[in-house]
Symmetry: C2
Amino acid sequence: MSRTPAVNGERLLARLAAFAAIGATPKGGVDRQALTAGDREARRLLADLAAARGFAVLQDEAANLFVRREGTDPSLPPLLLGSHLDTQPKGGRFDGTLGVLAAFEVLEALEDVGARPARAVEAVAWTNEEGSRFQPGAFGSQAFAGGTIPSEWREAQDRDGMRLSDELRATLAALPQAKSRPLGIPLAAYLELHIEQGPALEAEDVAIGAVTGIQATRWLEVSFTGRPAHAGTTPLAFRRDPLVAAVAVLGELHRSIMPADGDARLTVGRIAAEPGSINVVPERVAFTLDLRHPDDARLAAIDATVREICARHAAAAGCRMEVTVLSNMRSAAFPESVVTLVETAAARSGLSCRRIVSGAFHDALFLSRVAASGMIFVPCRDGISHNEAEDVAPAASIDGATALLNAAVDYLELAGAPERNARA
Amino acid sequence: MSRTPAVNGERLLARLAAFAAIGATPKGGVDRQALTAGDREARRLLADLAAARGFAVLQDEAANLFVRREGTDPSLPPLLLGSHLDTQPKGGRFDGTLGVLAAFEVLEALEDVGARPARAVEAVAWTNEEGSRFQPGAFGSQAFAGGTIPSEWREAQDRDGMRLSDELRATLAALPQAKSRPLGIPLAAYLELHIEQGPALEAEDVAIGAVTGIQATRWLEVSFTGRPAHAGTTPLAFRRDPLVAAVAVLGELHRSIMPADGDARLTVGRIAAEPGSINVVPERVAFTLDLRHPDDARLAAIDATVREICARHAAAAGCRMEVTVLSNMRSAAFPESVVTLVETAAARSGLSCRRIVSGAFHDALFLSRVAASGMIFVPCRDGISHNEAEDVAPAASIDGATALLNAAVDYLELAGAPERNARA
């Protein structure tokens, strides 16, 4: 190529600001949940930016959005880069969006210098990674990897009773200029830049994390059903209070699981009592458990412990117990070749780098089942994410995009056709 | 009077069945929350029954509904009998409704025999006693006793954002045949028949409870605010989880308050976490506490204990704490004269009777502030109430109405004009 492609930092930061404005919250965060009007607006902006550079825009039936910069040999499977544009209800400006915009920046950087790799390069925005509105999370990347959308996923409803299938149809229709493509096309490789969402890189002042894998995640819903009764007249002996069982269970879990294992994560994000009257002993109490561990066997052991504790306290409170698995994602290990590609790219950019296991699951977890995949982490302030206060230093965003670009260039050179340099 | 007035048991049971059909739930309970369409339908049925017997129908600005059987001296303050027609979201067929229909049965029993007491007798259905849709509960009787509706009560909204003032207006408009009367007219006395909503009378096989007073009730909302964070990546040391604080507080309360004091009641009817995403450590957790005790001083001490425990665990979890008093009702003692009136009436009917403190608050609590008031309890199966399984034996309903009628007759004789017997 004529010149070495380089990240345009100002351009990248301006794009981050433009997307942060879509669904911006008063506290400086973003509320752009999957398949909402805000999500559609962000997808439209990406499509417009792509059109302005002459890149092709495509979407599949899961509303995964692809921006394609064609290669000299269109028959070769593309190198895919990306992440997601949807956010938590009170999410940040970088979770997902940084990875999508950095991927697009790679396409533009290649275009800026007229690079002519044999292989097409694509930037992707996966649909509904967060799963906060419709379950399961990583909807788009799971559908892509599986080649289909399970019918029960289409029936998923949000808390207002809106069905995913309807919102999906409306989202696809909102981007008529995008060409349709089938789910799960062949890929050369997949690379995803993301913020760490944890405190490690910042604490060690490391610029780049070469992600070796992703810990396992299991989501459970636990419910206890007792006997509703009058709050003022029912003595303790006559009560079967499901909230007493739930509190006893959670207290024991809080005291045992995380304190005993520094790699374990246990979080209760939702809890509710029915019928929900101040002066009625509840009939039913339900809560969710988000359980994670890098080791699949340890996670299974924690799951078993949870069920044992639930059964014990349900019996003690005279309540019926139910445990439902909402989601179960095995851990993933990325191929050594891709981890090395990231380390080499970071070193060539003069960026400090260390290997790291991802505490969060990402679309790359599912892509790793169908293509050589890897991830690049950059530090975020205080490890805060899924939070309006989420923040990433401008230099860190640029460092991450630079590592992604260099990894892509290295990969394309490895896979490039011989005449490529001659042409350049 | 020509004959001694007597309860028509078949009529009473048929009325109970007719009202149970309004808002009936599949599980045999009733969902007829205050100021809903169902509530209006029940009020309309009562008004139609009154018109059929030639009784006057009146309502005040709080939508308290009065059925008046005129006395020979309309200038005398009436004897008021009644309860409420609204229910919990998953309520029973007798809580409130039995008291209203038994009061109406008293009017009909007097009419059946052409009794001519000097004093008018009225049956009342107080508005929104339950408080499950709009707070505060006992809205109608509190407004009656206070002589006004506080403006903040008018602004109350239900969970769908409907305002009480709008629903109140619509409810009043739905009964155009009812004459308007001012809030808080002078009363001779107030008597309320109600199911015990507790297990004592049934356990002791006693037909009638002569209620000596009502225990104090305090409703609190407790909230903890921490720091939302990513469930998968945030180590224990970096968490400020308000749910951990809430669970620790509730665990300590469950282990201490009720086990240590058999007269104390502590119930958590509502709990919620925000933002409510499975994979986000909550930013805020809020729950309600329904605290009760027959002794005002003990209840105050329990309240102080709650605040101490909340503050301690909030500090331990690095969270901010807030405690709001949603409702605070002092205990009430009914006058000995009224308790004796009930005991005498029960004895005259050959019904077993014992004195009892009410575990629940009732409209009579507020009426007792403006008139000589008392209550009659009848047993309910297993003490279950605020529950679709709530049940009362047909004989128990008739016994309660009989005790109420005899107490009314005794009271009217005591207060009756001399020419009353001559005329009869």
